[in-house]
C-alpha cells in the first residue's frame, strides 16, 4: 500500500519555520522574561524532531549537514569558554557583565555576555536532545 502524506509534509514545511522563530524568540527574551537558553534549545530541538518525524533521516541530513554530537560538544565548549573568559580579566569563574550600546537599527540595546553562555546552553540542548531521539527511535 502506497503511503500518502502530502498534507503532513506540506503543513510541516510551514510549521517548522514558525517553531524555529518561536524558539529564537524564547531564547532572546530569556533575560527578564520567561525563556532562556534551555527552553529555547528545547523548542528548537522539537522543530528538528518534527522534521525527522515527517521526512526521513537521509533527507534531513542532506538539508542540515550537522553532526548533532559535535553541535553538543561545541555548545559545552562555548559555555565553559565564556566562563573561563572572565578568569582572564581577573574576575572569578562564570562572572558575567553587561553594558549599553547604541546599535544602528535597534537603538539603545543592552548587550550582555550571558547571551554567549546561553547560546552554548542552547546548542548543547539541541545536540543532546536530537541525538537521544535519533538513538532511541532507530529501527534495527
Amino acid at each position: 500500500m502506497k503511503i500518502n502524506d502530502v498534507i503532513l509534509q506540506t503543513v510541516t514545511k510551514i510549521v517548522v519555520f514558525i517553531i524555529l522563530t518561536f524558539g529564537v524568540e524564547l531564547f532572546l527574551s530569556g533575560h527578564y522574561n520567561p525563556g532562556g537558553g534551555f527552553i529555547g534549545g528545547l523548542v528548537l530541538s522539537s522543530a528538528f524532531v518534527l522534521l525527522y518525524l515527517v521526512f526521513d533521516i537521509e533527507t534531513v541530513h542532506k538539508g542540515i549537514p550537522f553532526d548533532f554530537k559535535k553541535v553538543a560538544a561545541f555548545g559545552v565548549l562555548l559555555a565553559v569558554g565564556t566562563g573561563l573568559g572572565s578568569v582572564l580579566f581577573g574576575a572569578s569563574f562564570l562572572t558575567q557583565t553587561a553594558s549599553h550600546f547604541n546599535l544602528p537599527v535597534f537603538g539603545a540595546t543592552e548587550l550582555s555576555t550571558v547571551m554567549l553562555f546561553e547560546a552554548g546552553v542552547a546548542l548543547t540542548v539541541v545536540g543532546v536532545v536530537v541525538t537521544i531521539i535519533l538513538s532511541i527511535s532507530e529501527d534495527v
Binding site: K2, I3, L8, V15, I19, F22, L26, P34, G35, I39, V43, S46, V49, L50, Y52, L53, V54, F55, D56, I57, E58, T59, I133, L134, S137, E138, D139
Partner: protein, 94 residues
C-alpha cells in the same frame, strides 16, 4: 458575574479532562487513546487561557504556544507509530 462564569468553565474543563483520562485508560483500541491525549492537550490550552484571563496576566501565553507545539508533535508521532510501526525512518521506501 464574569468571575463566576470563568470559574464554572474551569470546572467544566476539568471534568472534560477527567472523562478523557477515563477514555485513555479504558480505550478499547489505540487510536481512541491517541484522540484522548490530543483532547487533553486542547483542553489544557483552553484552561491556561482562561486562567490567564482570571489572573489578569500575560505570563502564560508562551505556555500555550509550547503546549500547542508539543501536542501537535506528540499526536503526529503516535499516529505514525500506529500506522507504520516505526517513528523515524532511515529512508522512505518508495
Amino acid at each position: 458575574m464574569i468571575q463566576a462564569m470563568l470559574t464554572t468553565s474551569l470546572v467544566l474543563f476539568s471534568i472534560t479532562i477527567a472523562i478523557a483520562v477515563i477514555r485513555i485508560i479504558l480505550g478499547p483500541s489505540m487510536p481512541d487513546r491517541v484522540i484522548g491525549l490530543d483532547m487533553i492537550g486542547v483542553n489544557l490550552i483552553a484552561m491556561i487561557a482562561v486562567i490567564s484571563v482570571v489572573m489578569n496576566t500575560k505570563a502564560f501565553l508562551e505556555v500555550i504556544l509550547i503546549l500547542g507545539i508539543l501536542s501537535f508533535i506528540g499526536t503526529i508521532a503516535f499516529s505514525k507509530f500506529i500506522e507504520r510501526g516505526v517513528i523515524v525512518e532511515r529512508k522512505h521506501d518508495r
